[in-house]
Symmetry: D2
Subunit: 324 residues, 4 copies
């Protein structure tokens, strides 16, 4: 029997990334910030649940989803999806400035506009401009800004104009009716890249840890006690959002971003405290912050202080002479 | 000159109530729970801002608005409107069970349905049912469930069916395609009745106080300190929701419902503490709870304990013999 | 009948001050710091209880008592006496450096000394020096250092030397055997001047408030909750000492010195909080600090913040337009 | 060469116990409660420092010292000695009821008594009885009650009577002048048995842990933060006493007895927290409580909760599938 001739190594599989499409969305702009995603397959999906399912079921290696918007607050669907869908972990964070344009069919002018298609969140962010420029307009709620802009072209929309991210003009022949129509020039949307459960990347010193925490029960000090788990370890929270659990009025889970990494001693200790305290803690991941800002914390919460204390305790328990 | 004959007194003006219409909405069902509103003018408006403006500008005596939904969480627009619109006060709270029906044009059947019109919140609440019963459906986002149902009748909608509250069937000739399609049989929406700024009604013992509080600045313990203002006076919170202030990522205001009335000593003391602590506290009102549940609190926070302590302090300051 | 000739007005009664004598004690040195006491009657007493009884029963206008010693800690008898004797108030604070000399009979030398008379507290403070200079000495416990020094002279003491304050050498013909024999060169004793219950003097900005507080009952967080009454008003404590109540092991009262004056808004508010929380709070007085150090506190606890908050609350309750 | 005949095993050395003597003291009564001490050598010493030095330097196996008195509070010398003398550990706790008798020379009667010898602590505990029965008496402070009673017999004392524990009558021919002269019939003194540093005995479920803790620096919330280390682990404190560190007014260390054992997970965790927080923590020992009362604590602080949390954390860090 002759041996098979040596095979060339299989080319590495191209990695696949799911994102809320179509091309031109803010989510695509976020994905464009990921160096590893260049040259990969970009899979446009219709909603967050689909993006996360792609990851969980192995159709994609990662998914980019919007998680917080400085104007609208928590993107509730994404937060709820992360709370209820096991098997995923956040591996990166990306910020995209939120800028809106108003687009119409080729040749249209602002005077032609009476019905404006827009996702409710985008609509809310342009309300002051619309009130001034188009006081008599009506709103057609859309599931996607980019999609509703494209529907202007294919004739399936009754709207005269659509609110969209500027990126759409690179891809489609739409008329630019107005630029920078967002009410808040500093608006930013925060995205996270989500992969299947893996060990967290090593700490960079500028990390963030995302959690979802339920409170033990409806006793007055429960939230206070939860927050003390962080405060007593010198950990700052950059996000704390309440989301109803959904089974009864007044029951909440909390979406938390804490400064630091699960491999930082103080964060590990806080996680232990949370786990003992809470009926349900979900660790969403430790990953580098988008702004690369190094996490500052009081010296007394540094790793070596934790290590030294453990050595001391061990000495006490074994009765080591001189340790007390 | 003869004097004019005596005029009969002008009939008392009928009170006017703004609500999110049209007839058949959950908001109308909430308004139907207000005894004083019977026989008044019910003014249907298109959104929360319009309802509140009616009150502020005197076109209405009060407005009914949805403020919290056990499934979807805070109704963000209403919370933000209350945070930014001065001159209003909550005077009552009402609960409406959330039940949904699927309606179509007369003669339609479930098999005819491929495009379903629904407000995104209602859509999210029926998602499991829709996934089972209409796996191939598409969603047409609507600004109002009732309005989109009516558009089935007048031919302006491309949808085949609409998700609506059951009340719509009393008013309009629509085909009932399915009942109780909501995923959570216990879903409830909480409404508040809002009037112009007036002195709060006297305490009933079963009251609630609504507030919006901003934190002083981004120091780690600020939220903890805010919550302690309540905890150290034995006050339970039935709602704590974070809402982004909107000027930058990571800045939040908190929407709070606290058990008790501003005229309860412990609540008045907590409000003083909050005011001293926070750069911005908005008192939205003290009003009877919808469930009429009497507020329980530790005896040590009762009114007479507060009054006795003030008497003691006064004795100390004046040097009254025997007081120490 | 002739009227009696006009009488000259009675000379103002000289004020009387009780102090732990005899002449030469640290307590006398403290009394010498009181400007108003110059020219008054100085009444030497044998113990703290006698001094306080003089005040309560009107035999003296004020009493000087030692209240804290930097080496020995709380002078327990004085603290207990203040806790149990009603009708008195601290009106001033004085610091006396603690310096000790060793004295003997005229002509004696250090070599003659084998038995040293001293109050146990003074003895403890000179222990290191005694160990070095008189390694073979024995200790004769005395109720008073000055008295035991005088007993060297009148032959009633079997001791060879006594530990005394330096002041004794101004009054009596004793041999100075050694100076500055105290082990801690920075030792200071703190004294308070106590009068009958009167209204506190006006705030000076550099004031102290003395309290005795019992905890509600043996629940784990009671002390924590008590301390929060101060911390949440930005009040620093310069003294916190536990003293057993005496009815059972494990029951304590706390002796507290807090920075500030009862007429400071933050202190008044803290006192109200303590009174509501504790089964027993004793206000011992607000008085100028011995070191005249101006009390620093965060701006957010200043008087005008408290006043403004009360105005706001009043506006809310009366329904004043524009207040929210 | 003939082998040496077999030697009988050396008899086990008799264990030596130091205690504050002479025979008849409360400390001897405490030592009599120690089963292992029966048949050992009981070494009478003159003070706490001597007793502890015996242990540290190997002259004794253990020392019995008084540590807390329900009437007088912390026995400061013992607490300070434990704080400053390394190499010792508390291994047991014993309670002795405090009962006093008044004794005189054989044949004496109460009418003969004008000068009463007594340790200041004992004197303070009999003050009410003395005030009633011997209103004109004077006090001769003594370093030891039993010693001053013996000095009545050998003629070295000028006193007419001495306050002593009842046990003295078993050993010496003294006249009993009065029984049960203590003012508090429930008075109890707490003793601890101290040995050289060894590994703590295994937990019994009814244990106590003794600590001395210094606060980091003079910031307002430091004591609060220290107490939270216990409260946040469900640990009750049965003793909290402040003792001046002695270098400056206002600087304290805290003597703490906490319910539980260093090998209880919650206590180990609290010790780690204390060590990280405090510039100086001294572990004095974990040992069975004198009252054998089983320590109760909330279920959420049980050992298995701690173990489970650590397993979870490990799973997160290694990226174990299904753990989140």
């Amino acid at each position: 029997m002759t041996s098979a001739p040596p095979q060339p190594p299989a080319p590495p599989a191209r990695r696949t990334y799911s994102y809320l499409g179509p091309a031109g969305t803010f989510t695509e702009a976020a994905l464009a910030q990921v160096p590893e995603a260049r040259g990969g397959v970009w899979k446009s999906v219709r909603n967050v649940a689909e993006a996360l399912e792609d990851v969980v079921e192995g159709r994609s290696d990662a998914a980019m989803i919007a998680i917080e918007n400085s104007v609208d607050g928590g993107v509730s669907t994404a937060q709820d999806a992360l709370a209820t869908m096991p098997g995923v972990r956040i591996v990166g964070e990306y910020l995209v400035p939120v800028r809106f344009v108003l687009v119409g069919r080729p040749g249209a002018t602002l005077d032609d506009v009476s019905l404006v298609a827009a996702h409710p969140v985008a609509y809310a962010q342009c309300l002051r401009w619309l009130g001034r420029a188009l006081p008599a307009h009506a709103h057609l709620p859309a599931a996607s800004n980019v999609a509703s802009a494209l529907e202007l072209l294919d004739g399936t929309s009754g709207a005269d104009a659509a609110i969209s991210p500027p990126g759409i003009l690179e891809h489609h022949d739409l008329e630019l009716l107005a630029e920078d129509i967002g009410d808040n020039p500093n608006a930013v949307t925060r995205f996270v890249l989500v992969a299947r459960t893996i060990a967290p990347q090593p700490p960079t010193g500028a990390d963030k840890t995302s959690l979802i925490v339920e409170l033990p029960d409806d006793h007055p000090g429960a939230l206070l006690e939860m927050l003390e788990q962080f405060a007593t370890r010198g950990i700052n929270l950059s996000l704390l959002a309440s989301r109803p659990i959904g089974d009864a009025l007044g029951r909440y889970r909390f979406v938390i971003d804490a400064d630091g990494h699960i491999q930082d001693e103080r964060m590990a200790d806080a996680l232990l405290g949370l786990r003992r305290f809470s009926p349900r803690v979900i660790f969403l991941g430790s990953y580098p912050r988008a702004d690369r800002a190094v996490v500052r914390y009081p010296e007394r919460y540094s790793d070596d202080i934790f290590v030294e204390a453990r050595d001391w305790l061990r000495g006490l328990i074994t009765g080591e002479p001189g340790v007390r």
